[in-house]
């Protein structure tokens, strides 16, 4: 992935600033989390100029250029900060007709000028300064959109990233882009440039920016679903070992945003989304099993899990089964938590979430036993971050299928594991544990005996003295209904 390479390159050069880099990253992460809580999480990408990359001398963005007789050159910053100078962009924006002039050059006869103008607009679109907002750039958008159907990859890429940076800015901007035909243009573009993976990545990025914004479910997403983009996105889902994961990652995130909006997941499934995503997940599971965990692979696994997880609700599981017929999917869903537990526990949790959505059917529960995958799940029970709660849900789903399933669960060692989870600090974990235990004991009295043998009685009795009503009531219920013969209760007169 050339973008990640660029970053690493930079980090290497600034060896002594590594701590500072990490500190900044942590701070940045906190900002991102705050932004997400406000539903304001947006990012923009800046395409580094190829020349600058080769030189290795430039980190910053502004380029020298002469655009026309009326515009002075922008200033080139030589300091190491990544922020473009306010003056440079402000200067440009405040010039009268500056955007108009850029646009003139954009459509002009000189290819080099076109490229430079596009570059300039791209940098402006990435500008963090509030004076440079997308509405001011809107004169350029019809042209940018038109050029998406052009033939020059480098130019097209710039146009794409410019548009992509503008998408999150406001609903007005998105409406405007929609009206100007951005979706058919993207469709065309990905078709024309399907062999150029850099452009494909750019299309994916732009589309993801468009559909991940707020308030897009009414018009934008239906338009995307109807546009014929889906099959093209799906065809990208085979990672190219040379180019890297960039394009696949972007397309996968697009599919995730489409699926989680729940506008018409039936259509997504009908076009083969579930099939492609699950088979890519299996491929990634195989890679993980072989130990070849490529850098950034989690960026791909994440959206695929989410897409599959949400698409599983698009219809009864029985109807979806033909698309889910590879049982290695279950193995992959159990492998990801094991592989990523320490590095990305949230990914482990989402993997188990997909299993929860799958185990609403006896077919998949049977398969889990057949493939002997349940012990791997039970081993996840000690872990917090919501992992154990999700695992308990899966186990509850399995137990709910019936007596034989409960017996198999007990054989897999669930009862001692529950004795431990019943002592955990998180009340929700204890509640779910009591529910699962209740199902086990209700299905067969020998499981109740087994539980007593595991010294489970004192644990339940202890819970009776908790000040949390939910678990107190359940513990009492279990003691009274299933464990009564084992525990002589002395009632005082």
């Amino acid at each position: 992935m050339w973008r990640l390479n660029a970053v690493r390159h930079k980090a290497g050069r600034q060896g002594s600033d590594l701590e500072e880099f990490k500190f900044k990253r942590r701070e940045h992460e906190k900002e991102l989390r705050r932004a997400r809580k406000d539903s304001q999480l947006v990012s923009k990408r800046l395409l580094l100029n190829d020349d600058e990359e080769e030189d290795g001398t430039m980190d910053t963005l502004a380029s020298d250029q002469v655009l026309g007789p009326c515009i002075t050159t922008t200033v080139r910053d030589d300091d190491s900060s990544q922020q473009p100078s306010r003056e440079a962009h402000q200067l440009l924006i405040e010039q009268p007709n500056s955007i108009a002039i850029l646009v003139t050059n954009l459509c002009g006869p000189n290819p080099q000028c076109r490229l430079e103008a596009a570059r300039c607009l791209h940098e402006l679109s990435h500008s963090p300064h509030s004076e440079v907002d997308s509405l001011r750039l809107r004169q350029a958008t019809p042209y940018l959109i038109t050029f998406l159907s052009g033939q020059s990859p480098k130019f097209t890429e710039l146009c794409l990233y410019t548009l992509g940076n503008m998408c999150p800015d406001s609903e007005n901007v998105r409406d405007m882009l929609l009206a100007q035909g951005i979706i058919p243009a993207l469709n065309n573009c990905i078709q024309i440039h399907r062999t150029n993976l850099a452009v494909v990545e750019a299309v994916g990025f732009t589309l993801s920016q468009l559909i991940s914004a707020n308030y897009v479910t009414e018009r934008i997403i239906p338009a995307v679903l109807a546009s014929g983009l889906i099959p093209r996105l799906l065809s990208v889902l085979t990672p190219d070992s040379q180019f890297g994961l960039g394009p696949v990652i972007e397309c996968a995130w697009c599919l995730h945003y489409l699926a989680c909006s729940n506008v018409d997941n039936g259509a997504l499934v009908a076009q083969g989304t579930l099939l492609h995503c699950t088979s890519l997940l299996v491929t990634l599971g195989v890679a993980v099993a072989k130990g070849s965990i490529e850098e950034g692979i989690e960026l791909l696994i994440w959206p695929l899990l989410r897409c599959v997880g949400n698409l599983l609700l698009s219809g009864p599981l029985g109807a979806l089964q033909p698309q889910l017929n590879d049982s290695r999917l279950l193995a992959a869903l159990c492998a990801f938590p094991q592989a990523f537990l320490q590095t990305h526990p949230a990914l482990a949790r989402e993997s188990v979430w997909v299993l929860n959505n799958l185990t609403d059917s006896s077919v998949f529960c049977s398969a889990l036993f057949y493939l002997n995958l349940v012990p791997a799940l039970i081993q996840l029970l000690p872990f917090s971050h919501g992992i154990n709660i999700m695992v308990l849900r899966v186990l509850g789903n399995i137990a709910h299928q019936g007596r034989e399933y409960c017996l198999h669960l007990a054989q897999a060692g669930l009862l001692p594991a529950l004795c431990a989870t019943l002592k955990m600090a998180d009340t929700e974990v204890v509640t779910f544990s009591l529910e699962v235990l209740g199902q086990l004991m209700a299905s067969d009295p020998q499981l109740a005996e087994e539980f007593v043998k595991q010294s489970g009685l004192p644990v339940l009795e202890a819970i009776q003295y908790s000040n949390q009503e939910t678990i107190r009531l359940r513990a009492t219920h279990l003691l009274e209904h299933h464990l009564l013969p084992h525990c002589p209760v002395r009632t005082m007169p």
Binding site: R33, G285, R306, Y370, R393, G402, L434, Q439
Partner: protein
């Protein structure tokens, strides 16, 4: 990292055939629904409410937060970093669920040690924890049984503490002498005025939990209000308000004026080998004055139908 079974499943080449529809479905003998419905009708109200449920998550769901942050760090070219700062999976902590005891432990063993030391064989009347079921019975008999003091006037009621001995004595002092002379107990054993040293040792063992302070005062001080916790807390359903505090003073059940409110007449001795468990309030001292005389009949009666008297130890006699 990955278990061999999983690796094999995923990497074996002839498994392209492992289709879900080729896997035999586990057959069920009878429908689970019938069981649950019968339980619900018994109670009049469902206590166990779990049913399988698929979960749809929209893009802003909190479960998606970490993944989104990772994605955006990547977009902003900040995702590579030699040393990871991202959250790692934590093992869940364990908590003691006895109401009022809010201690948390990092391993099951620590929790179980805590529980077995402090919550087993607890007298429901005065919250004292005794080391064994037998001593608990003796304690209850001698301190909380109204009949005991009456009978003790006329017959030998004080049992020897040593199991299997069977001897009984008319007074506590006689028992104490017996135990010292015949059973070779040290004379400073915790019969009457409980010595600090002994208590500290036991309490120190009890307190080997994470994060608890070990301030043990060496002076013989007024005992804390052992029983006041009961009258103060509003949670009637729990007869056992076992609260934990490891503040100074908890170790001393000696010279316990609280005993004045108990029903036995002999008040200058302390219960045997007991550890007093204090309420986790910040106002220990002012409280006990207030509550000293608000204690009432031991709540060994009427705490709901059919509730388990687990801490009497009878359940474990099997």
């Amino acid at each position: 990292m990955l278990q061999p079974g999983l690796i094999q499943l995923l990497t074996a080449s002839d498994l392209a055939d492992l289709r879900i529809d080729a896997i035999p479905k586990l057959q069920v003998g009878f429908r689970p629904g019938s069981f649950f419905s019968s339980f619900r009708s018994q109670d009049g109200e469902a206590k166990l409410t779990f049913i399988p449920q698929q979960i749809l998550l929209n893009k802003d769901h909190e479960l998606f937060e970490d993944g989104d942050i990772h994605r955006h760090l990547y977009l902003q070219n900040l995702s590579t970093c030699p040393a990871h700062d991202s959250p790692t999976a934590r093992q869940c902590e364990f908590r003691c669920y006895i109401s009022g005891c809010s201690q948390v432990f990092s391993t099951v063993e620590d929790y179980e040690h805590h529980y077995n030391t402090l919550h087993r064989h607890v007298c429901s009347s005065c919250q004292r924890s005794l080391p064994s079921a037998r001593l608990l019975d003796i304690h209850i008999q001698e301190w909380h049984d109204s009949l005991f003091s009456i009978l003790a006037e006329r017959q030998d009621m004080y049992q020897c503490l040593v199991e299997g001995c069977g001897s009984k004595f008319r007074t506590r002092e006689q028992r104490k002498d017996h135990v010292i002379k015949i059973h070779k107990y040290p004379s400073d054993f915790m019969f009457d005025k409980v010595k600090r040293i002994k208590n500290i040792k036991i309490a120190k063992n009890n307190m080997l939990q994470k994060g608890t302070s070990m301030e043990v005062s060496m002076s013989v001080s007024e005992p804390e209000g052992v029983c006041e916790v009961l009258s103060d807390q509003p949670e009637e359903e729990e007869y056992m308000e076992i609260n934990h505090s490891l503040e100074p003073g908890i170790l001393d059940p000696a010279s316990n004026p609280i005993n004045t409110v108990e029903l036995s007449t002999d008040h200058d001795t302390a219960p045997i080998l007991s550890v007093t468990i204090q309420p986790t309030t910040n106002q220990q001292r002012p409280q006990h004055n207030r509550e000293r005389h608000s204690y009432r009949v031991p709540r060994t009666v009427c705490f709901g139908q059919g509730s388990v008297q687990g801490f009497r130890g009878h359940g474990r006699r099997i």
